[in-house]
Structures are given as C-alpha cells and as structure tokens.
C-alpha cells in the first residue's frame, strides 16, 4: 500500500465523518449481502482468518490469537445479524458494534474490508505510521469505528450509553459488544453489568469470547472468573452459553437475545484462542506475537486446506 493511497483513504474516512451523504460513499458499495448460510459464512471466516495472519505478520506485531477466536462471532454479527449498510455507514438506525477487546482489531478490520467499509488493500498497513488501522482501534483515524477501544473494560459501558441514547431518541437499534474473558477481571465491566440491568437495556447484547487464555497464561490460573454465566445471571442479565465457533448456536443465541425483553443479554461463547491454525490454537505464545513469514505460509496453507 502506497502512502499516497493510504492518505487518500484517510481523507475519505474524514470526509465521511463530516458528510455522511457524500458521494464518496457510492464508490464504496460492495458486493456484500447478508446471509446466515453456514457454508458461505465458513468461507468468509476462512478469508478473515487469512487476513488476520497476513496483517499481523506484515506488521511484525499484534494479537493474532484473540483475533482468530473472535472471528466467527464477528462474521455472524456482520453478515447474519446486524442491521447495517456499508454504503451508508452513519445511517442513524444501524445496529452498533463495539470491539471492547480492542487488541483483537485485526479481525474487525478484515470484516470491515470484506463488508465494504474500508478498502481491502489497506489491511497490510496495520500498525504502520499514518495508517487508519491503528494497533488498537481509534475512531479519529478510522471513523467507521463506533468508538475507540484498547483499554480493556470500557466497551460495555459505552454500549450502555449508546442504548440509553437510542431509547431517548425513540430508535430501536441494537448494540453488540464483544469482550474478552480476561477483560472480565476489570471491575468496570461489573459496573457496566449493574447499570445495564438497572436500566433494563434489552437492546444491549454482550458477547464474551471465552477462549480461556489471556496474556500471562490461562484465565483460570491468572485470575479465575468462573462461574462466569452465573455471575452475569446474578447481575440480572439474560445469559446464554454457546459454542462460539458454531454458527447455528451463535444465531440461536442472537435470536434469543433479541426476543428477550426487560433485561440485557450476555452470550458466553466458548472459543479456542488461535482458532483455525494448529500451532496457534490454545497457545498463549500467540496472544501478543505475530507469526513469522514461514509460520504465516503454513497457517495460510492450513486454513486453505481446512473444511
């Protein structure tokens, strides 16, 4: 990606922020169409995972493990659940998405690229000087983001705020917040748990990427958060436990969340950190480290050959 093109992309992004109806949007209409067809979604998820590996290796840093574990959840949300229009990104009625575990942003950037929010060619600029694709999501650099994240434990509160605003404005958009399991250790998450239930924010749906690993080891040995579903239940949230790599289960849970009135929903999704790449799966070494070029080739090959 040439710097000049990158600059243009950033300018485009800025223009959109101030003038959502700008004709620039028209250029960005993508072949994106929504679907819950599992076969199609598996293919998309495979490509997203390949993007994640390539981007982080190209950057020489980043967080591939937690990006890979959240991939199926993000794909399900953007292709099969959320109401949104990539060619009208500031549409007031769109559902909101917040990646509270901001370090997993390679997955989100790839999803943005493949749904048509950003140009796919800018993915290799991840973490480089001047890139809209910051190491942790920054909405000043990439206005497509609903909020800047990167410090854990902030996203759910922001989601609650968006839902409160939606209620005031008589809108029925929903707010989806993806958090990490290590992130559950932040006290502020539980403050948000209280206020979400207190204000009966049934338009908020949180999803926990329960991959059982954080930076220093397993969540169980670092600071156990179990029993997690019971905790959310006790805080007054409708709680659903699923396999976070099974699209049927993900959609059933999202439908159940939508049908739940009077309280917010928390989906506890069991996942595998590094999902899809044998040497990254359940390997804490790939929390904050990218693959070498050799490893990248192997990972891409594995992903291509997987079902």
């Amino acid at each position: 990606m040439k710097v000049k093109e990158m600059k243009r992309e950033m300018i485009t992004a800025k223009v959109m922020k101030t003038a959502p109806e700008s004709p620039v949007n028209i250029e960005r209409v993508s072949p994106f169409s929504q679907t819950r067809d599992e076969k199609v979604l598996r293919e998309i998820a495979r490509e997203v995972r390949k993007d994640i590996i390539r981007m982080t290796t190209e950057a020489g840093s980043g967080h591939p493990g937690g990006s890979l574990s959240a991939t199926d959840l993000l794909v399900a949300l953007f292709w099969g659940e959320m109401r949104h229009k990539p060619n009208d990104r500031y549409w007031a009625d769109r559902d909101r998405f917040i990646l509270s575990k901001g370090h997993g942003c390679p997955a989100l950037y790839s999803v943005y690229a493949r749904t048509g929010y950003i140009a796919h060619e800018i993915l290799p600029t991840l973490r480089k000087l001047g890139s809209p694709l910051q190491g942790h999501p920054c909405m000043i650099h990439l206005p497509t983001l609903e909020i800047s994240t990167g410090s854990l434990g902030h996203g759910l509160s922001v989601g609650n705020g968006m839902a409160l605003a939606g209620r005031l404005d008589g809108k029925d958009y929903r707010v989806y917040v993806v958090m990490g399991d290590g992130e559950q250790q932040e006290g502020s998450v539980w403050e948000a748990a209280m206020s979400g239930a207190h204000y009966k924010l049934d338009h908020v749906c949180g999803i926990i990427d329960y991959n059982h690993l954080e930076t220093e080891g397993t969540v169980e040995e670092v600071m156990d958060i179990a029993p997690l579903a019971e905790k959310w239940c006790a805080f007054g949230w409708h709680t659903i436990e699923i396999d976070g790599h099974n699209f049927d289960e993900i959609f059933a849970a999202l439908d159940e969340a939508k049908a739940t009135k009077g309280k917010p929903t928390m989906i506890v999704a069991q996942t595998v950190k590094g999902k899809g790449v044998s040497f990254m799966e359940n390997n804490v070494g790939f929390h904050g480290k990218s693959a070498t070029r050799e490893q990248m080739e192997q990972a891409i090959k594995e992903l291509d050959e997987s079902e």
Binding site: R127, L129, Q185, M223
Partner: protein, 320 residues
Amino acid sequence: MVKLGERESTRNAYGVALAELGEIHPEIVALDADLAGSTQTRRFADKFPERFFEMGISEADMMCTAAGLAVSGKIPFVSTFVIFGAGRAWEQIRNTICRPNLPVRICLSHGGISIGEDGSSAQACEDFAIMRSIPNISVIVPCDAAETKALIHEIWDKPKSPVYIRMTRNKVPTILDENDQSFHQKFTLGKAVTLREGSQATIIACGQMVAVGIQAAEELAKEGIEVRVVNMSTIKPIDQDAIEKAARETGRIVTVEEHNIYGGLGGAVAEVVTERYPVPMRRVGVRDVFGESGSPDALFEKYGLTPKNVVKAVKDLVKS
C-alpha cells in the same frame, strides 16, 4: 551486568534488579496485572512465586491490595503499563497509597510514545503531570538501564513514602557507567546529575531523552555552541538548586521529555525557573496531541523528540 554503550530497556533492568533484591529482602512482594512478561516482574515471580501476586486485569484492585500489603509491613512493587497503572488506577494511588503515605513502589513500564505499534491507547504522555501533582509521592524517570538498576537498589526501602518510577519498552543506549567510581556516589534520589558541561545553555532531560540531549549537545559543540546537559531523573522532589544554578550560569534552559509539554518535566522546571531565577526556556516534548501506531524511531521523528529538534530549540534561545 549493565554495559556502557549497549542497548537495554529500563524495564529489563528493573526486572533483574527486583529479582536480585527479592533474594536479600523477604519483605519485598510484587504484584502485576497480567503483564508480568512485559513489565519483567516475571523474573521475580519465577524466583519467589509465593511473594508474587498475579492480580489479573484489575489495576484498581491491584493498587489497593498493594496498600493493604504495605500497611501490614510489606514493601510492594506494583507493575503494569503506565497508562493502566498511573492512568486507570490514579485515584486509588492518590487516596489509598499517597494519602496514608505508604511505601508502595509503583514501577510502571511502557510509558511514552516509544511503546510504538500498539498506538495511542497505551501511549501514556500524561503520567509525569498527574503523578507529580499528588502529595507525598516521588516521581522518577531513569535514563537508562544502569540508572534503573541503581535506583531500584536505592529506593526499595527509602523513602518510606510512595515512589513512582516510569520506564519504557524499547531498548535504549546505556549512557551511564556503573563501573565508574563516581557513578554510585553521584546517584541520589532528588539530585540532578550534570553529564556534560557548557555555558551557553542547559539541556535538562529525563528518561531516554537524556541520550537525545547528549547527542544534541555534541552536534551543537561542532558548531561552537557549548551546552550543559543535566539528567533530571527525579522529577519530584525536583532538584531546585541544580535548576537555579543552570539558569544563573548558562542563562537559557531547554527541557526534553517523552511526555506532553504540559505539566511534565518542562512544567516542573519552569515552575522553579520563574520563582527562583527567570531565564528564557524552550520545552521539547509531545505537543499536546495523542500518539499513533508506528515504530518508536518513526514516532520520535514525527513528534519532534530528536536531537535535531533539541538543537533547533537551543539555537532559538542562543540567537534571541
């Protein structure tokens, strides 16, 4: 051993020193918030697992737990990234560590823009300001691995009040020689150290910007401009006499810091200069903007934390 001229990160020197101290002083305990591998407290944890407390990603809880340990006779060393410790848990530090004046050692790493690719969410450039404005606490920013090591060995049990140490992620050149006889005599908390003499201006720097200041001084010397370089590793309590002396003797001061120009080293020096002996000043630092992703060197270049920029600031003053 820390070798003169070699590049080593201050966080690494901290981890090594802490593990050494743990051997001698059983009252030392360490706490971290899921970043022990990065902050280097892992070295202590591996040696003394029973005296290391992994707190998970819960910095506020960690600070107050440290307060509880301190008030019960332990000397807690608390580590995470600067932004999550000094930032997220500031109020816990202020009210429950500093107000009761407890001997907690808040040793945070990955400060400044040199954390690099992670981007602005982690690039703390506000910590000098928010930490030095809390009563009772000392604020120290070591310039290299040698100073970090000496510092950790000195401050482990004195002062009896809270201490904040700011370290960085990247490897930095070791500019102080720990084998030099005068090194340990020179190193005292609260005392600035003159690293180079000069009469036309004084560069006062801290952290890895001290090396940048020295480089600038060398450049200036080639053009016949002789400047003093002072390592002001203790930002609080600041060495007022050294600042006044620099103002009196050189008449111009340039501060250099990996921090916002508001409220940090430049601010602290200016407070002393205006009250004791007003002279013209320039502050080199991050100019009240957030950082972004990029390599540390690319960021230093973009945000003006370079010898070139320090040279320019000195020349500005010398000409005016």
